[in-house]
Amino acid sequence: MYQEVILDHYKHPHGRGLRDGDAEVHHVNPTCGDEITLRVRYDGETIADVSYEGQGCSISQASASVLNELLVGKELGEARKIQAAFLELMQSKGQLEPDDAMEEVLEDAVAFAGVSKYPARVKCALLSWMAWKDATAQALSEGKTA
C-alpha cells in the first residue's frame, strides 16, 4: 500500500499550512486520532486554495497533499467529479483496477488504490476529502462562491 507516490507526498506535502479561507472545518477520525483542520477559498467557481494542518498517519497526510495538488485551480464541478471518483476508488475494497480514464481524473491519487484493500485505513485516506466536501458546503451556504 505504501506506493512511492504516497511516501513522497507524506514526506514532502503540498500546500500544507493554514492560509486565509472562506470556510474552515475540523475533522477527526476517532478510531485512530487523526485530525485535520482544513480551509477552502473560492474565487467564483474556482478553488483558489485548500490549506490544511493536522496530524495523522502517512496515508491521511499524503491524501491531503494529493487533494491540494489535484483540486486547487479546478472548477467546483470538476472538483466534485474528482472527489466522487476518489471516493469510489477508496470504497472498492481493492476490486477496482485503475485504468487510463481513471488515471486521467485522479492523477497521483490512483496510488491509493492499494489502500482500499485495508478497511481500517480507508477512513484515513478519506479524512481530508470529507473535510473538503464539508468546508465547501459551508462556503456555499454562506454564499462565498457564485
Binding site: 500500500m1 505504501y2 511516501l7 507524506y10 514526506k11 478510531t31 485512530c32 486520532g33 487523526d34 485530525e35 496530524q55 495523522g56 498517519c57 502517512s58 496515508i59 485495508y118 481500517a120 485505513r121 484515513c124
Partner: protein, 418 residues
C-alpha cells in the same frame, strides 16, 4: 536463542495453539503480539467446546433427559472451575456474562436500581481513574448522567502510575463505589489495590476491580483483593469470545436487584409480578453462553496446569527483556512504566513522529501483529498528548525471539519512513 531465567517451555506450549502456525504475506510466520486485545486459544479449549456441541448440547437447567443433565453439569461445572480459579468463597458468587463490559455495566446498573445503602443517586459520588478501559468509564458516565451522581477520578503520573496523592479528596464519605483496573490495558501498570481498598472501606464505599488484564496473567484471589466485585473476560485468558465473569460478594448479590429480566433468572412468574432466583441465576437472563462457559472452564484448567505463578514469571522475564531491547530503538518512547517493576507484559510506545498506524502496517508486512490506536483508553492518550500508541503485548506463548523480531521490525519501520 536468548536464555532468560523464568521462561516457560514455549516450544511445547506453542504446539497447543494452532493459530501460532499461521503465516501471512507469502509465508511469513505470524508474530502475535496482541494478546492484550485477545489471546489465542489452545486446542484443549476448542476441543472442549467441540465435544460439548457434538455430544452434550442441550439447553441447561430443568431438563430431565440425559443430555440436558449433562449440559447442565458441564455448565455448572465450569462455574465451579472459575470459582476455584479466583478463590471465590462460594460458587454462587460467580456470574457468567457475555464479556467484561457487560460485567461492569451490570455492577453500575445494580447500584443505580438498588435500595439504600447501595443506591447511587444525585447526592452520591462515583470514583474511577483516568487509566481505565472505556468499558470501565462509559458505564459510570451513563450511571452518573442517569442518576445525577458525580463522577470523579484519579489522574496518572508522568511515569504511568495512578496518582493517589489526593486520595482523601477523591474518595469521600459521599463515595458509593470505586471502580478501577488492576492492570492497565494500555500501559501494563499494576495498580496498588490495597491502598485504594483501605480508603474505600474507611468511607464505606464498595470496590469494583476490573481484572480483565489481570486474570489471564497472574494469580487472581478475590478474597485477598478484598474487593466487592471483580470483572474479567474469557477471550483474553485463552478462552472463547462471548463470555465474561462477574464475581460479587454473596450478601451483595442477595441484596442487589436484577439487571436483565427473562428466562432462567426467575423463581416464579405471573403476568402481575415475578420473583427472582437466587444468585448467580438472578443475574443470568436467558439461555447462557453454555458452550462458552465450557470453553472457559477448559481455559482455566489449561492455565492452572501451566500454573499462574509460572505464567507470571515467564511474562516478567519477557517484559524485562522487551523493555530493555525496545529502549535501544532510537526515538522510541515508552508510554507508561519504563521498567519491568509492577507492570504486566503490555508495552505501549511511540516511535518518533511516525504515526502508530504506519508502524503497525509496516510491521504487519513483516508478519508482526501489534495493536495501534488508543486501545479503548483514550483518556490516557489525551493525558500524554498523543493521538495513539503502538502496543505490543505478550503472553505465555511469547518468546524472546518474538521480541527480537519486533525490534528488528521497528528498525525497518524507521528506515522505511526516514
Amino acid at each position: 536463542m536468548t536464555y532468560l531465567p523464568g521462561l516457560l517451555d514455549t516450544e511445547a506450549i506453542r504446539k497447543d495453539f494452532p493459530l501460532l502456525d499461521r503465516t501471512v504475506h507469502d509465508g511469513k510466520k505470524v508474530v502475535y503480539l496482541d494478546s492484550a486485545a485477545t489471546s489465542q486459544k489452545p486446542r484443549q479449549v476448542l476441543d472442549a467446546m467441540g465435544e460439548y456441541y457434538e455430544r452434550h448440547n442441550a439447553n441447561v437447567h430443568r431438563g430431565v433427559y440425559t443430555i440436558a443433565e449433562e449440559a447442565t453439569a458441564l455448565y455448572e461445572g465450569a462455574r465451579d472451575k472459575v470459582a476455584a480459579f479466583i478463590n471465590a468463597p462460594s460458587r454462587d458468587e460467580v456470574i457468567f456474562t457475555k464479556n467484561a463490559s457487560e460485567s461492569l455495566n451490570l455492577v453500575a446498573n445494580m447500584l443505580g436500581w438498588a435500595d439504600e445503602p447501595y443506591r447511587v443517586d444525585h447526592e452520591t459520588e462515583i470514583v474511577t481513574t483516568e487509566m481505565e478501559h472505556h468499558s470501565n468509564i462509559v458505564p459510570w458516565q451513563l450511571l452518573s448522567q442517569r442518576t445525577g451522581a458525580k463522577l470523579k477520578w484519579f489522574g496518572i503520573t508522568d511515569d504511568g502510575r495512578l496518582d493517589l496523592s489526593n486520595i482523601d479528596e477523591i474518595i469521600t464519605e459521599k463515595t458509593k463505589i470505586v471502580s478501577f483496573t488492576l492492570v492497565s490495558n494500555i500501559m501494563g501498570t499494576h495498580n496498588p489495590v490495597e491502598q485504594i481498598v483501605r480508603r474505600a472501606q474507611e468511607v464505606g464505599a464498595l470496590v469494583c476491580v476490573d481484572a480483565s488484564q489481570a486474570a489471564p496473567h497472574m494469580v487472581l484471589d478475590v478474597q485477598a483483593l478484598q474487593a466487592d466485585f471483580v470483572a474479567f473476560t474469557g477471550h483474553k485468558m485463552v478462552g472463547p469470545t462471548g463470555i465474561g465473569v462477574l464475581w460479587g460478594r454473596q450478601e451483595l448479590l442477595e441484596d442487589l436487584p436484577p439487571f436483565l429480566g427473562g428466562g432462567e433468572m426467575i423463581e416464579t412468574v405471573s403476568m402481575h409480578s415475578s420473583t427472582y432466583a437466587p444468585a448467580p441465576h438472578k443475574f443470568e437472563a436467558g439461555t447462557p453462553p453454555i458452550a462458552q462457559a465450557v470453553g472457559l472452564g477448559a481455559a482455566v484448567d489449561y492455565l492452572s496446569a501451566v500454573g499462574m505463578e509460572n505464567i507470571h514469571r515467564h511474562e516478567q522475564a519477557i517484559t524485562g527483556y522487551a523493555v530493555k531491547r525496545l529502549l535501544e530503538v532510537p526515538d522510541l518512547r515508552i508510554i507508561g512504566p519504563a521498567d519491568a517493576e509492577d507492570r504486566g507484559a503490555t508495552i505501549s510506545f511511540t516511535l518518533g513522529d511516525i504515526h502508530p498506524h504506519d508502524v503497525g502496517q509496516v510491521l504487519d508486512e513483516q508478519g508482526i501483529a501489534v495493536r495501534v490506536g488508543h486501545h479503548c483508553a483514550r483518556p490516557v492518550c489525551l493525558r500524554y498528548g498523543i493521538p495513539a500508541t503502538t502496543r505490543a503485548s505478550f503472553y505465555l506463548y511469547s518468546t524472546p525471539a518474538e521480541v527480537d523480531a519486533l525490534v528488528d521490525g521497528l528498525e525497518h519501520v524507521r528506515n522505511f519512513f526516514a
